[in-house]
């Protein structure tokens, strides 16, 4: 990875403005030094919003966004805990069960009761306007295909 630490990525990152703890350039630097545990246990890697501005502007085509994707992949492989991994697992589980994601299910599995309470009156207002996502799951007719594919690929990896 020919990263020259020019910081264009951090300068393009919309998250870093609001949360200086997440500095993508520094994550790349830590990855290059092999600080595995340091990076994988850092909760801020789950703050990346995948906007790929860093990938668009990086002069050396290091594709920092893809590095985060890879870090998260390893974190999920190692069953790491935290809101980020929980959401990813909930999302993938929903794909497995429905073929398409069931928004209400994924949201609930991610934030749980405490999270729902945190939303305050919003869910009620959404329900009143008919904006809330469907409670009932509507899996694809061919959802078994999705499960087979997910299993097949899981094993071959």
């Amino acid at each position: 990875m020919a990263c020259i630490q020019c910081n264009t990525c951090t300068s393009s990152c919309p998250v870093e403005i609001l949360e200086p703890a997440f500095r993508i350039r520094q994550v790349i630097a830590r990855v290059r030094l092999g600080l595995r545990e340091d990076v994988l246990s850092d909760p801020s890697i789950w703050s990346c919003v995948r906007c790929y501005a860093c990938v668009a502007h990086c002069p050396k085509h290091v594709r920092p966004g893809d590095v985060i994707e890879a870090i998260r992949h390893i974190a999920l492989e190692e069953k790491r805990e935290g809101p980020g991994p929980r959401h990813a697992r909930a999302f993938v589980e929903s794909v497995r069960e429905n073929g398409r994601i069931h928004e209400a299910g994924v949201t609930f599995d991610s934030i749980g009761f405490r999270g729902l309470i945190g939303e305050g009156l919003l869910p009620l207002e959404m329900a009143w306007r008919g904006k809330s996502p469907a409670i009932r799951r509507r899996p694809l007719k061919s959802v078994r295909e999705i499960q087979t594919l997910l299993d097949v690929v899981e094993e071959s990896e």
């Binding site: 998250v15 609001l18 945190g118």
Partner: protein
Amino acid sequence: MKYAYFPGCVALDSCKELDVATREVAKDLGIELVELTEASCCGAGNLQEKNPEAALVLNARTLGMAQEKGLDLLTVCGSCQLYLARSREALENPETRERVNKALTKVGRRYDGGVKVKHLLQVLLEDIGPRKLAGHVRRPLGNLAVGAYYGCHLLQAPGTDAFENPEDPQGIERLVGILGGSPVSYAGRTACCGFHVLTVRRDLAVRMSATGLIEAKRAGAKVLATPCPLCHLVLDVYQKKAAKAAGEPLDVPILHLSQLVGIALGIDLEKLGVSRHMVSMESVTRALEDEEVVKA
């Protein structure tokens, strides 16, 4: 003008109105939509992280369905466009296709490459084209100041740079012009809405969307049009929280791209499902009615 229509997950769930509006607009413009009812989720980055190979295989399955029908794929969501276009680009490599087809054949599917993935914005600007679109406009948007909120994924999708300059996009502004409206430009229109961390770091998403909304308001936009339901969810549903975070009142109605087009084509607002939005459309409907009185 026929497409394999890939609505994605959110456009059939919390943003049902997007799917409804898209079908209305397609019907009016003579675009035949063949919905891929059995297509799976595009992975939206999460599946790509948990199981990248599976994400590629599932997207290959979706592309295979479009290929069966001999049609290109139409998306109406920024993230779907990005991840499907990325999978399509990866699947142009014969070896990758061979590997992926080994898995797909287990469920009786396959994909042989060559399907194009187009977002509604590109279809409107290029395939329909300004003249035909203008021909269908029955209710020009008039001096309703319409701002664009592109979001990030559509602009970063492979192939978008063919019809848009990701750093300085004008597509939606041009579209508003074609629809007889007055576009409002502001730098934050390419900002990221933060949807992908909505469940993990809601405060971040809210504050990110707040920056964009404040800038749009200050630039004089009376309504925003977005090509992505995920942006729509953050900007519309969490706008009150964004206002609180920004410490400044915010009342900017948010329209899906197809709804904006639907309005200009004269389709009834109720039919476009604008009533489902959290931020009321009342200011927009009033502005449009003033327009009509003037015209009539």
